[in-house]
């Protein structure tokens, strides 16, 4: 057994506290509280600038919008989470001319081929961030992590009421520190890189397309 831990902590403890090391902390600059309409607008605009495809719809119409989007593409299937509210809505209203719905219902070890082979996946979101244009995802046992990562197209459903002004705001309001999930995630667009001559290109490792349906009632 190595003594690294004890040695490191002993070295740190040996040093007398240094009064000059901490400095007064300026408060967070007041964030202008955005109106609901501004939140939606801003999030949409910023995400579109990052090449996400964003549709505004409402809870009565979103499946129709989704179906249109899917019919414009030729996809071999749509990975979905059967045991979630959006999963139920989808399976109840699915039509035969659409890419088949494929449930993520087995552990990854038994479904890796399928996860990496399917063209699209659809997930819900926990919320959005207006100031930077990002979605918040907290994958759950019903809606696992790879759904928003392995397929080339990620479709995300966002309820406009869950958009926060900023990340700081989301953390403070929802007390994230008391309940961090296995993996929390912010997503602002399709996967991208600028590693070759700083030229921005999309779809390097994660999804090549991000389609966001904002449900605003």
């Amino acid at each position: 057994m190595s003594n690294a831990r004890a040695n490191i902590l002993a070295r740190l403890r040996e040093v007398a506290p240094q009064a000059d090391t901490a400095v007064p902390e300026p408060a967070a600059p007041p964030i202008e509280a955005l109106s609901h309409a501004d939140q939606v607008d801003r999030l949409k605009r910023l995400m579109e600038a990052m090449h996400a495809e964003v549709y505004l719809t409402d809870s009565g119409n979103w499946t129709a919008v989704l179906k249109d989007v899917l019919r414009q593409r030729s996809l071999n299937g749509l990975l979905y989470a059967p045991a979630t509210p959006i999963g139920t809505t989808l399976s109840e209203s699915w039509e035969s001319d659409l890419p088949p719905l494929v449930g993520y219902d087995q552990v990854v070890e038994q479904s890796k081929e399928r996860l990496f082979g399917i063209d699209a996946g659809i997930t819900s979101t926990k919320g959005g961030l207006a100031d930077v244009g990002a979605l918040i995802l907290w994958p759950t046992p019903h809606e696992p992590r790879l759904m928003s990562l392995a397929p080339a197209v990620h479709i995300a459903v966002l309820e406009a009421a869950n958009i926060h002004d900023s990340l700081a705001d989301a953390i403070a309001r929802e007390h994230w520190q008391d309940k961090m999930p296995t993996n929390a995630l912010l997503i602002s667009g399709p996967s991208k890189t600028a590693d070759i001559e700083l030229v921005l290109t999309f779809g390097v490792h994660g999804p090549k397309e991000l389609i966001v349906l904002i449900l605003d009632d």
Binding site: A4, R11, V15, D20, G133, P144, L167, W176, M180, H205
Partner: protein, 480 residues
């Protein structure tokens, strides 16, 4: 480190300065990065306020470092993350190896991590029969060419697209030559997707580790970081022990400073917060998550109040982009893992002045790095401190490793003479007169070795026949 690298700075610098292609690649890239950052932080007042917060948050975290590390360990352990401590890179490598061997892993996929570079992890694993594949596109490119990163954010920035096109064509079987960036991307995507699928262990770095919640934060654009930390059954995160922050609410301002400074983005495509391994009812994610905390000299740096500020660094790379030395040389000339201004203060402290002290001389003291640093690290003061300690044995437990290695009679004498000359008017006047008389003859005289070296990549100044004092007097001005 067990076997310190010897770096031939003069040779590296001459080579870099004579490489026109490299200089063009760098110039274009650094100008773009600088511009993007300025556009993002366009309101100077708001930016200053944000910087002050970033500075304060990092100072607070460092001021409580021992407590926070223990809290981080406790929280992570409660969450099911296994925490390991390593004093040296070798120890950290062995911890990683042992975990991989326990899982019979032969294929490891890696996200970008400067600490793993500091550990030379890939090389260590390869020697023991484990393939470690870099999956960040930039890292993948340079790994194909057996190079190391030349920039801490954009590792392949020294290469342009024709160079990358040729590399892909030569090194990846059945790859046609293409300079189209999208196509190069698609080639890498195809290959790396197969690797993500098959990877047995994923290795990543950590941008911030939150003590309050035991959360590891990862900032990235490509999705390879998510892949490496989600798809394989085991995830190993390696981090320098200074990366800890106290509270979750400390993260948003630091994240903004990091992405804004690094690439001029409001936020990256992905911000990943990992707080535990897969729970019993979850369907994916690694079953084991390990966190390796590396010291490698950081506790020594931390013990000194001035040097401690080095550890505030959030590795945004912006000091590189604004440094007149880095932008002309690129990262490889520095010869060590961390280049540019941050490398010039961090490396000599990690490796010892006797090994890497020369890095602290790769600066013009112009202060550009300090002006842009989002967490206000006094880079220039620390550089000066390192240069001074290189020449002086210091009687303090916090002296920089290898202090006094340059103590040299000839140089001390020269500087003593210089000081005397400047403090004594008549000596100074005599010197000026002598230089005025002899100066113009200098280029014709056989130059001593030291001058020859100096003039290899610099022009020898011309000495005026009359000094400023004399000229001023002739014009009837008082030179007092």
């Amino acid at each position: 480190m067990a076997n310190p690298v010897t770096v031939d700075f003069p040779r590296n610098f001459t080579k870099a300065l004579n490489d026109g292609q490299l200089r063009r690649n760098l110039r274009a890239a650094m100008d773009t990065l600088g511009l993007r950052r300025r556009n993002l932080f366009s309101d100077p007042e708001a930016f200053e306020q944000l910087r002050a917060r970033g500075d304060a948050i990092r100072r607070r975290a460092l001021s409580k470092l021992p407590q926070l590390l223990e809290q981080l360990e406790r929280k992570c352990t409660e969450n099911g993350i296994q925490v390991h401590w390593a004093e040296t890179p070798d120890e950290a490598n062995r911890i990683c190896l042992e975990i991989m061997q326990r899982h019979n892993a032969t294929r490891v996929i890696k996200g970008k991590s400067m600490v793993s570079e500091e550990m030379h992890l890939n090389h260590f694993l390869e020697e023991r029969g484990i393939e470690a594949l870099e999956t960040d596109l930039g890292e993948y490119i340079i790994q194909l060419d057996h190079e190391t990163p030349s920039h801490i954010i954009v590792p392949a920035i020294h290469k342009n697209r024709d160079q990358i096109a040729r590399l892909f064509h030569e090194k990846i079987p059945n790859t046609p030559y293409t300079e189209v960036v999208e196509e190069l991307n698609a080639i890498a995507r195809k290959i790396l997707r197969e690797k993500f699928f098959a990877g047995e262990v994923g290795v990543s770095g950590v941008n911030f580790a939150v003590a309050e919640t035991g959360t590891l934060c990862l900032v990235e654009n490509e999705g390879n970081g998510r892949m490496c930390t989600t798809a394989p059954p085991v995830h190993i995160a390696v981090m320098g022990l200074e990366k800890v922050v106290e509270r979750l609410e400390d993260v948003p301002p630091l994240l903004r400073l990091l992405t804004g400074s690094a690439t001029g983005q409001l936020i990256t495509t992905y911000f990943n917060m990992i707080s535990s391994p897969r729970k019993p009812d979850e369907k994916d994610g690694p079953k084991e998550v390990h966190l390796v905390l590396l010291d490698n000299g950081r506790t020594q740096i931390w013990a000194d109040p001035e040097l401690r500020q080095t550890l505030k660094c959030i590795r945004c790379g912006t000091c590189l982009n604004h440094c007149p030395v880095y932008t002309r040389l690129g990262g490889h000339a520095y010869g060590y893992v961390y280049p540019g201004p941050i490398g010039s203060i961090l490396t000599p402290q990690l490796e010892g002045l006797e090994n890497a002290g020369a890095m602290a001389t790769a600066s013009t003291f112009c202060g550009a790095c300090e002006e842009v640093c989002p967490v206000k690290i006094p880079i220039v003061d620390i550089l000066r401190r390192l240069r001074i300690e290189a020449y002086n044995k210091v009687d303090s437990p916090h002296a920089v490793k290898g202090h006094g290695y340059k103590v040299n009679a000839m140089e001390s004498l020269t500087w003593k003479g210089w000081a005397l000359s400047n403090a004594t008017p008549w000596v100074n006047a005599l010197n000026a007169k002598l230089l005025g008389l002899l100066g113009p003859q200098l280029p014709r005289l056989p130059a001593p070795d030291i001058v020859k070296k100096w003039t290899q990549s610099r022009t020898l100044p011309k000495f005026a026949s009359k000094s400023l004092h004399v000229l001023a007097k002739e014009k009837g001005l008082s030179d007092e």
